[in-house]
Each structure stands twice: as C-alpha cells, then as structure tokens.
C-alpha cells in the first residue's frame, strides 16, 4: 500500500463559518448552507477544493478555497467536464488522495464520484460543496491513526464511515467485473478488504448478486447462450415430437410432414386425428448445423472481453455483497482501536486443541489412537476436466461422506489437500476397517475420481502449524 501523504480529506479541518465574498457575484455558498455552518469558527483553515476543467468557477469563500493547481495538495476534488473526469484518477492516485470527496459536475456520472451532478449550475456547485464538506467533517471526526493509515482495510473503513456507513455495490458495464463499489473510490479490490473486515466483525455483509466469471480473464461480461451439446453451434431450434400410436414410431415433426399432411415415415400411413392416431408428447432441441437431437440445449458462456467459450460447468461464480459498518466497528473506529473485533477461533484451532489433548492422553496413559490423512490427489486434473464448481461440489460431497462414516468419537478438519482425521482408541491394525469402509463408500458414491488416498501419518506431523487450513 502506498504511503498516504496527502492532506486531501484527512487534514485536520476545523469547520469554518462561511461568509459572502463581495467580489464574486456568483457567490454560491453564502445563501444556502445549513445554519449549523454559520456557527463554525472563523479562524479555522479553509478546505482546499481542487477544481479541474474549463468553465466558470466560484471565487474563494471563507473556509473554502478553489484552486486549479493539480500539483498542490487538496481536500476535495471537483470535476467540471469530461476531460477532467478522465484526468481525475491519475491526480487522485498521484496525491494518494484515497479519502478525498470527489464531485462530478460534468454530467458523465463518474463512478468514483461521491457527488454527481448533471451540470455545473450554481445549484450543483452549492450541493457539491455542501456534501463534500459533510464528508470532510466525518473524516475530521476520525482519529489520525485511521485517516493516516496506509492499508486498504483502514482506508476502506474510513471511506465507509464518511460515506453514510454503507458500501453498496452497483452494476457498471464499463468494468469487466460488472460490479463496483462507488463508496470505495479508487481503492484497489475493495471487496477483498471488505470480506476481511466482515470476517473480523467491522462490517456486516448482505448478499447482492452472483456473477459468472470467465475462467480465462476473470471478466463477468459474458454472453450466455444455448447451444448444441454435440457440435456447440448456437443455431438450434425447438421442435415437437410426434408419436404414431399404431407403429410406435416417434420422431420430430419434420420427419412426418408431407406437404400439408402428417405421414408416418415408417409405415407410410397418414396421421389424421390428434389423440387418436398420434400425439405430441413433448419437444426436443434440434441443431440446425449438425442435426443432433436432444431434450435440452447445452448452456455456454462466451466472454465478451477475451472471446473464450466455456461450458456452464467450468465457469466459476463470484458472489458480491453489500456491507454496512457494525455499531461495534464504528465505535472502535472512532476510538482509533484497529485491533480485530473477532479473534479468529477457527475450526483448525479447535481441532489442534482437541488433537493435542488427545495425543497427550495417549502418551501419558498409553491409549491407542491413529491419525489419518485423506488426500485428494487429482484435484488439478479434475479441475481441468470439469471445472472448479464441479470440483468443489465433489470435494464437499466427499467430505460429507467421510463425516457420515466417522464414529462419534472421531474428529476431523479440512486441510489444504484434503482432511485430517483423528481416531481415538483405534490402533494401527483396527483402523484398517474404517479406512477401508470410508474408501469403499467414497468409491461407490462419488461420480468423479478425486484420486482419494487415505493413509496413516505420524501424530507429530499432524500438529505442524502449516498443516491445517485456517
């Protein structure tokens, strides 16, 4: 994470009372600002608004300074035209102005702007400055340890706090991912940081949408289409089936059509009466390219960005969530306490504790126990063959099967390459029975060969810190 060295949005801003500037006939701020602003101290430093773009801009106000100098530091950014919108990301990145409020007066609806207006009218200027000052006020209320942070998580928390405590995703067809978090501004991959913060209790998540992702370029701009399962042509159509009762011939309708009559191609009899001579029991998909007939069409995804065509089974999905700051998170943030809200008591840690305890019992009282490692040795091959979704489903199914085969006294945990299983009161010879039973069950029930291998391991190996996923 780059160092945050810009005053934009984090400079300790003391609210100021705004006064009218007699030199500016278009003084925008003096007439409509809320009355609370009138109480603010006159001696506070003014907020510096960087204004990019051609056009008329208001003169400096008391407490607010408008500047066109892109090299100088700034508190907020106002974009007046489309060219300014195009320049803005570079300016913001150059100044590391990750928290600065951005106003778009160009009418282009810049996605990273906090305030978007259709024009640069006086009313729009007034609204832009007012809302920017609200954001700056909220940022000013945060401790310096938050606003001076240089990690994405803390900056994201600061932005969420200063932007109504919500991180709401929005559809945006201009990005390959199709979803953006405008409140996150230009922070890179805010969803990852948000997930970590949600895991730690700072944010609460709610499901927003699920997007399919191209396995080649990770774009979600995919064209979903039905195609022939045999030749993969999208040129397919639906035709009804005709069943001739008398001779049992059943085929697509076009095989029966003879001029304007239906004639059975098998027995050459005319089908005169629906429900008596024949019926139409259903329909099938017929490929116009290769003639293949099937009940269902295959579903495929074509990536608009890279052109890769993928089967539905191999296209992974990505879930998007909306986030809001939790009350506890907000309190901690305002207090500048950035420790995690939720110490991670993982399943792995519990497993370690249990396993360690049992191994100590084994050592002290000479009780038998066995540790098994179940490995999925064909995951990369299966992933290549059927895709990540099917692999994940097969793996989950396998784990559920193993869980069902374990005794009440056994315990297990997921490891990166499979499972670790502790079987108390079971010596090396006796463990062969459940081991064989688990393997047989997996073999019988799994439709995909995951290359499952189960073998005994040294208990000391079990407690290696890197062993268990966390």
């Amino acid at each position: 994470m780059a160092t945050h060295n810009c005053s934009a949005g984090v400079r300790r801003r003391i609210p100021v009372q705004l006064t009218a500037d007699p030199l500016d006939s278009g003084s925008l701020l003096n007439r409509a600002l809320p009355s609370d602003r009138a109480l603010r101290r006159v001696d506070a430093p003014a907020s510096r608004f960087l204004v990019i773009g051609a056009g008329r801009r208001p003169a400096a106000e008391a407490g607010v300074v408008f500047s066109p100098d892109t090299d100088a530091t700034f508190d907020a950014l106002i974009l007046v035209d489309a060219a300014a919108v195009a320049r803005a990301p570079a300016v913001l990145r150059r100044h590391h102005a990750w928290l600065a409020p951005v106003v778009d007066l160009s009418g282009t609806q810049a996605w990273f702007a906090d305030v978007r207006c259709d024009d640069a009218s006086p009313a729009s200027w007034r609204r832009a400055v007012e809302q920017s000052l609200h954001v700056l006020d909220a940022l000013a209320a945060l401790p310096a340890v938050v606003t001076d942070a240089d990690d994405v998580e803390t900056l994201l928390l600061a932005r969420v706090h200063s932007r109504a405590a919500h991180l709401q995703p929005a559809y945006d067809p201009t990005t390959p991912r199709l979803v953006r978090y405008p409140a996150a501004g230009l922070l890179e991959e805010p969803e990852r940081a948000a997930e970590r913060l949600a895991d730690q209790g700072w944010l609460a998540r709610t499901f927003f949408d699920r997007m399919h992702v191209c396995p080649n370029c990770a774009s979600s701009r995919l064209n979903v289409r039905e195609e022939c399962p045999a030749c993969r042509s999208a040129e397919i159509g639906e035709e009804t089936l005709v069943h001739h009762f008398r001779c049992a011939h059943q085929a697509i309708e076009r095989a029966f059509v003879h001029a304007d009559a239906l004639v059975c191609p098998k027995c050459r009899r005319r089908l005169r009466h629906f429900g008596v001579d024949y019926d139409r029991p259903g329909s099938v998909t017929v490929c116009q390219a290769c003639g293949h007939i099937d009940t269902d069409a295959a579903v495929a995804f074509v990536c608009i960005d890279c052109g890769r065509k993928s089967d539905a089974t191999v296209v992974a999905t990505r879930d998007w969530h909306a986030y809001r700051m939790t009350a506890a998170g907000e309190q901690r943030l305002l207090g500048g306490d950035l420790r995690s809200l939720r110490p991670k008591a993982s399943e792995a840690a519990t497993f370690h504790a249990l396993a360690g305890h049992w191994l100590r019992i084994q050592e002290r009282y000479g009780r038998p126990s066995t540790v098994l490692r179940l490995a999925f040795t064909r995951t990369s091959e299966v992933n290549a063959e059927v895709g990540p979704r099917t692999l994940a489903m097969a793996r989950r199914q396998a784990i559920e099967i193993v869980r069902g085969e374990l005794r009440d006294t056994d315990f297990m945990v997921e490891a990166p390459e499979g499972l670790l299983i502790v079987m108390p009161e079971t010596d090396a010879r006796a463990v062969e029975v459940p081991r064989r039973r688990i393997l047989d069950r997996l073999s019988a029930m799994l439709s995909i060969d995951l290359g499952i291998d189960i073998r005994r391991i040294d208990p000391g190996e079990l407690l290696a810190p890197a062993e268990v996923s966390g």
Binding site: Q250, V284, I293
Partner: protein, 421 residues
Amino acid sequence: MTDLDPTRLLFGLDPAGVLAMFWFVVLIDLPRYTLGFLVVVAREVVGPREAVPPFPFTPLVSVVLAGHNERASVARCVRSLREQSLPRIEIVCVDDGSTDGMMNELRRLRAAGLVDIIASSGRRGGKSSALNLGLSMARGEVVITTDCDCTFDRDAVHQLVAPLADPAVGAVTGNIAVREAGGTMLESLQAVEYLVGIGLGRRLLDMLGQLTCASGAFSAFRRSALIDVGGLETGAGEDLDLTLRLRRAGWTVRFAADAWCVTDVPCAVRAFVRQRTRWERDALRLRLRKYRDPDPAGRGLRRGEFLQQAEFVLTNVIPTLTFPLYLLWLVHLCGSASLTVIALVTLIYSALDAVAVLCALAIAGRSGTTRLLPYALLCGPFQAYVVRGIRVAAYLQEWIFRRSYHDTYVPARVLGRAPRY
C-alpha cells in the same frame, strides 16, 4: 379309476410300462431339454470354442436406455456401461414420461459427462416408442438396447458386439444373470431358471439357428437391420416381435454366451406371476397370430421359420396344455396311488433339471454361480408346476380373451390403435 399298490407300481413296471406311465416326461421333456443340453455341453467341452477376436470390428456403439420411472436404477446402469472395456460407446437415455424425477437424474448424469444424449417423450407412450425415439437419435453403427435395472461385466459389450463382425448377423443377444438383490428363494429359483433357460437354452437354439428372441434386457442390433425392419412395433413383447421380423427379413440372430448382463427380477410372487403371464401371452400372440405365416415375403425362409414355429408349438404350447391333462390321466389311472406317481414324476423332473443345472453351471464360466447348486433339485418342480401353471393360465387367457390387448404395459390410448391379429 383303478387302485394300484404304489410299491408294485414303482418296482413292477417293465420298460413298456414306464413308457406308458411316464410318456410325457420320456417323450416330451427328456428330449426337449436334457438331451439337447447334453449336446451343448459336449460341444462346449469337446468342440472348438469360438474365440472373440481382439476386435478388428470397431463400430461406434450406441446404447439406448429407455425407461419409465427408473430414477433409482438408471445411474447404476449408466455407470456400469461407462466401465466397459470397449472404448467407443455412446449412451442415449430416453425418459418415457416418468413422474419420479428420472429426467432430472438423466440431466445430472449428462452434466457429469456419463450420458451423451437424453430425451424425454414427455408423456408416457410405451417402451417401443421410447426406444424408437432413442434409435432416431443414436449415431452408432451398432445399437444396444437394455433396461435400466441391468448392469454388465466389463467386457460384456465387447463380447456382445463381436458377432456383428459377420455382416449376415442382424442381432446378437447376451447372457443374463439374476442379481438376487432381495435374497429371496423366488429370486434364486429365477436365477437358476435364467442360467438354464438362457445360458444353456439359447446356446442350444443358437446352435440350431433357432433363436427367436433377442432379449430387450441386453441385445445388440446392426443399425441398418433395425432400420430395415422399421424399429420397434407397438405392444408388449416388443423384443420378440422385433427379432421375429429380423429373422423374416433374412437377418441371422446370434447368442453371445460370454456377454454377461445382470438384472433384477421380481422378488414378490404377485409381480413374478404378472410378469410371466405377460411374457407368455405375448409369445402366443406374436408367434401364433401375428407371425403365423412363416414367410409372407417369399424370401425362401419358410423352412427356418417353420422350424422355429414348430419348436414353439412342440416344446411349449403342446406340453403346456397337455400337462394338466396328463396329471388328470395319472390320477384317473392310478387312483389312490396317483400321489405317489405324481411324486415320482416330480422326482424325475427334479433329476432332469438337476442335470440341466449341472450342465449350465459347467459351461457358465462365471464365478458365483455354483452357489445356486442347492436350488438345482427345486428347479424341476418349480418349472413343472409353478412356471408351467402360469403358462397354462396365460395361454388360455390369450387364446380365449386376447388379454394381451388390454395389458397396461403400454398405455391404453396407444395400444388401442395398434393392429390386432
């Protein structure tokens, strides 16, 4: 009616007396099965065995599975097909208007890459139309039909398809064993029956060129032969119907004894009786009514087709219908000793069928079949009284009432439009 002393009866008979008393067994059942089976065994043991070639004949094989409400069993069947040693197998599954979610199961299997083509006829139309739909979608030069409750030895398809290397062969039927999933005696008796009737009986008919039924449970067809005869016809007994038409079209039908399929059989008495009644009614309708004329097209097949009809009449129809009369005659002849005589007849049947079972076991070449040995002695009475009793009832139903035209195996709206004979 004459009262005879059972002891005198049993030990006092000269050869002419034995023939007079047990003519039914000696003249009908002994040559019908036992002698023929001994010939088969002798040929298997002494004669050169036809080796299955490494497989110079490598057609694309399409397996067409059609089923109604077979959700529970279709996956097992498909997985078994995917275990086959023969690499080029296309699996086409047709759901015949199921209401148990079979179509969803088929979709799952196709998503897993286990099934190539699936189709649904939406509304149940009967097995024939479902198979015809599957046949129209199958791309293989060879088409195998089977049932959803079947599974297969790994080399079964290879063994089944191999005889089709001979261009004269239009159909090959495989060997069928019983799964005995329910563990009932009825299943075990059927297992013995299949072992003898199919494993041994079809070998005999194959030797004689008289195979008349390529079983729907596991048979392979040359696609051009199927198209030649128009696929399957409406009505129950569609496999027998198809085979008879293939024979009349001049195609040879063979038996692949080493192509093993395992199937479920009814384990409840009522289901068993219903199934057998249907089979027997269909056999009578098709062989003596629909295909009564042995060679309508004048293809010079009259002799062969006449022989298969004669075989059916002499070994099935007449023995079946005369057996009750024979029993009545025995009762009339022997009076109070009739029970002893009938017991003796039963013993003879047991002995004859035990020989047949031993013959079948000797040449089955399949592990696990020897456990059926204890049922060898029960097989005779089971066949003589239970199976034959069902057959008598079925023949009479069909002969007098034509009950096969009201069978629920095919929906009434469809069966009602089928031609009657």
